[in-house]
Symmetry: D2
Subunit: 376 residues, 4 copies
């Protein structure tokens, strides 16, 4: 595959603004190296090579791309986003084949002694081409690594069958890392209908900045309407947030996950004094069903070992876009009525469900059904 | 029916706070006159009549209510809201009977000359007990009347089969008027998932203040997700608001309306230089289907003749709760990304879909399908 | 006087940004007509006329101006603001001469019958070249005219001895009108130390937009410190705003006015239900001392007859910069703790000193010492 | 001295609200132990002791205080604030005598070798009853102690001749500690005229909460007006903040300090990566003149060793009132245009003068004129 990019040079000597943006996007997605040749269309010079190419391919606007495949066949792209999808590295061949869920059934657990490594022999085939033993080995290997390594491993294996669950907060670093990998991936958000206006703007900003699709998962209106009709819009302040989260988040999450083989969260051990202290880097998601069936879903938490301050250094050092709420004292970000800024030096969880006890501050997305030591 | 209210008098001589609130709620709903007798439970005096009643009915908290019906049967209410529903005037008997949609079919239009008064003879039976001729007569009668008269007419006839479509803005005056009528009514809101946080708080405030149920109608996730995945969260700034309104508002409205025989909006003629200049007080909603079928739905706009300043005088004079956005320069209130404050002296519609042309500023809720002179 | 402006033309064919801004400023000040000739310095062409002029006058940056006076003497201006001051029309010659205050003494009032027109014969010489009879005649002539006419009259007569008292609100229209007149004028603001951050930003924006100097008058620290030490920073909520306004505004105003012969306010009759109902277009300021002594000071209220909505139409039609507070529900703007937004349809004075009675809502700047019919 | 407090008990059995607040204030100032006896005036019981005392001293409202001195003379206080001043421990007798500045002259430095402890022998008499040797000894003793110890030492010695320079930020902990000491002290703020509205509200809250006087020092209008007229209101963004701080802060500080013998700041070593790394707990202020003359002024920084997180723990643990800006992402707080919120994990100085280099972020209040090792 050979890719030619045609850029326009203006009379002033500068490249056109759209061409500059396209290059930025390609670099941001780690795909600039895939452009084999850049050709200039010089304003006012019809003889320039780019102008000639524009005429040959009947393209009137810059930038555009000519992609020639192994058989010499040429395709012209006027949309940088479409080009991105065409040249992003596909997942490893072994995984490209669709595998039927029935072949991935989990073997019944043998009568084993309890000293055996958690889950080690419970299943032979876990996901297409990945058995449980290998999963345990990979989990151990990634347990102390950098987030980028975890992401690369998963995206190489699962491609767009692997989704980042983006919360609209500082977990945007996962999208930044994935985008720079040049590998395909999916992104979804749980749109509870109660997010801050700033969060919706931020999600859109991320979508455009990285040139990615983001799936926004909404709650089912029947359950939601019945709940709100009965209890109003702020019942969580009275009887806790789990009912509302159940309807607005958990159900939508479960519905979404059925499209994927693996999902990636921004959970970190330092986020919650209690509930997240043992978050592993890689685990089998026993509580949710994936594309391949129940319990046959991987869940990765690449930032498990990172501290808040490390995440924020990454954001600043890499000019990653962030939610403007972070400029107003918000550290953790969730639904608008259930999130508030914290004081200097206060733990971020003081800004979530502050009217409830410290140890209950989870929305149920990451409920531990059957904890397995270090994750798998 | 005879209602006794038991209130508690504290040692300080004051009534207990909850008892005061209950009385306020009853007055606010126009139902204080339905309380036949007030009895005091005096703190520290077990011999006081209210204390005695508490003991007899095994009620430990004040206030409570004893309702005795015609046959002498007694019912005790500890919830003021439940009492409200029990004593609100039911709709007129003729309308209480459920009428099958098939009996309300519209007669085929006779071969008539086009000079005939709009719609006058198109249908004989329109809604149970209301034929088209009478509807036209009523519309003429209400056309120049006060909003309270229109509301009273509709609520007397349809009760909770008549719903106020509450937008979370200054149309709260309709709820205030309906609440003071002492008549039963329904309320729904279109919850697009993009309302201001202030609007959600206001809806809740109205729910509690008037002791009413409010139905929040959410969009269908399938259509919404497909739309947002493709176009992002702010496509309306590019290609207009009608697609987004269609998914987030219009579809939800149509779904809601199928529960009712009549609906009430806050539309006013002075709201839009162009699109609302001919809003009638009462009309047949030809574009939507009600409980009784397509086109057999009444639509009332009791505020059609009122000006913005008259509505705001009503709000101030009657201490009606209002959306706090109105304290920050917002006049009209819709979805967060599509609403903005206006400058002093600027028309309220300058704060809605400001990037589009003045004459297109309708969200499609009140699309005129087949205009019929003055409404019917 | 002959003025040449040298502008730079870039390779792209556009004029340089600073040159464009300079032209905008000159147009905004009504002085573009005073530029007799525009000469281009073409980038990359040292032979172009502008480049040659740059070399001759040793000027390295564009734009610059060459001003040749009647005697053929040349002055080069690299600052557009300095040029503005040099070419702004000076006041009428008769008034340019400095007149000693002693010569402007007010004649003692003759024994006159009370039916005589207010103040008509009280003084013969009022201000240099303006006696009281003429002042009365001018006041009558301007009473029903447009604000621009009043401004032109005063600025022609007094030039920079006439100051606009800018409040940081919609009275910016006065500055816009004065700036477009091409006549010299002064501007001052009372900086109470308690203005909104937005107001300070707006004052700066106006300064830069119109290329004018603005005097900010601060209170005397001794009186202020004693007051705040004793009563704290919000005593006005307890015992009224007059003491605070007296120290932070009135004293500073009186100090400022001693520099001028006339001052201009944004007072309008529609601003206050009571206190401003009789504001005249032109009056003698009996309560303050000007440059020429006590009571020898003119005060003009050119917007007296304009309504709020007319002022706002002017702002929108002429793209006049405005205080961003007006985008958040503020109509009237004063000190931060004493100003609040108003609801739709509410009178602007409801946003000022709202804890006090409606008829007392003046800060004392415009206290009526001795009202004289229609002003003079 | 014997103090009786008369409180009122209401019919409900509760103490009256004002009585409760008075007790809170006394406790908050560390002076509750000075109330020797509490007597109740029981509502509706004229024979109760408090009612009798009210009648005897002709006092109609509660609470009030009867203070009997050593000679049996009685004084009645109806104002809790006035009582506070009367019973606050006076400074040590030796320091109560006014000492003339001329007697506190600094001896010329003897020809000493440079290995001598900084400043040790430079002066014999520094401040009344405190020579330089003792100052060095005290500085060493307090260098690693708790802030409360430093405060107690200074307030015992100097009383209201010692002032806390309150910035309106988290240095409120100094006021809280001083208030709880029961010792007299002064407080001043530099009111630049550009503080946040929130900061003014906070200063007032502190004034009322602790029942203290706060001196607000304003800039001199002459210098300020000339500066702003020439450069506008935001020149610091162009040429640095030192000129503006010089006029709005430093001059006002110098003027204020001449009233005191010692001043106390909230400086901490962790505040600035560079400029505050060596802040001592106690030092001689060589750069400013106090009541006793130039260079005869002590400066204490009791929080020098505390970290931001320790300060914030103190605030939360002791329910100290704080500036609401801290709820919106602000850590450090200064003037409105020169302060901004910081992102999670960002150093607080990133929120001050962010357009300038990191090492220049001081406003000149604490300029090091002649650094002396560990402070003195």
């Amino acid at each position: 595959m050979h890719v030619t990019m045609v850029k326009k040079r203006l009379l002033s000597g500068d490249a056109c603004k759209k061409c500059v943006e396209a290059e930025d996007l390609l670099r941001g997605r780690g795909l600039w190296g895939r452009i084999d040749r850049v050709v200039w269309a010089v304003e006012g010079d019809p003889a320039s090579e780019g102008m000639q190419l524009g005429q040959r391919y009947k393209v009137a606007t810059a930038p555009f791309f000519v992609l020639r495949d192994e058989r010499g066949q040429e395709n012209v792209f006027e949309s940088t986003l479409k080009l991105l999808r065409a040249i992003a590295t596909p997942p490893a061949p072994a995984l490209a084949t669709e595998v039927k869920a029935s072949t991935v059934s989990r073997a019944p657990a043998p009568a084993s002694d309890s000293s055996q490594p958690a889950g080690a022999s419970q299943a032979t085939v876990l996901l297409d081409g990945l058995d449980r033993e290998e999963a345990v080995r990979i989990a151990a290997q990634l347990a102390n690594g950098e987030p980028q390594e975890t992401l690369r491993h998963l995206l190489t294996r699962f491609g767009s069958d692997c989704a980042i669950a983006f919360s609209g907060a500082e977990d945007v670093v996962l999208i930044d890392m994935a985008a720079h990998s040049g590998l395909p991936f999916s992104v979804f958000c749980l749109d509870t209908g109660r997010l801050h206006a700033e969060t919706y703007r931020f999600i859109e900003k991320v979508r455009v900045h990285y040139g990615i699709e983001i799936e926004l998962c909404s709650p089912q209106p029947q359950a939601l309407q019945a709940f709100v009709r009965k209890k109003g819009l702020f019942s969580f302040y009275e009887d806790g947030h789990s009912e509302c989260c159940g309807i607005r988040k958990v159900e939508a999450l479960k519905r979404s996950l059925t499209q994927y083989r693996a999902w990636i969260t921004g959970q970190r051990r330092d986020q919650s004094p209690d509930t997240r202290a043992a978050v592993p880097v890689l685990q089998i998601d026993e509580g949710n069903a994936g594309k391949a069936g129940a319990g046959v879903l991987l869940k990765a938490n690449p930032l498990a070992n990172w501290s808040s301050s490390r995440v924020w250094s990454y954001i600043r050092d890499n000019s990653v876009p962030y939610n403007t709420l972070h400029e107003r004292g918000y550290v953790s970000v969730g639904c608008e009525p259930c999130t508030r800024p914290v004081l200097p030096g206060q733990h971020e969880r003081a800004g979530r469900w502050w009217w409830e006890e410290a140890t209950k501050k989870e929305c149920g997305l990451h409920a531990v059904v059957a904890p397995h030591g270090d994750g798998i």
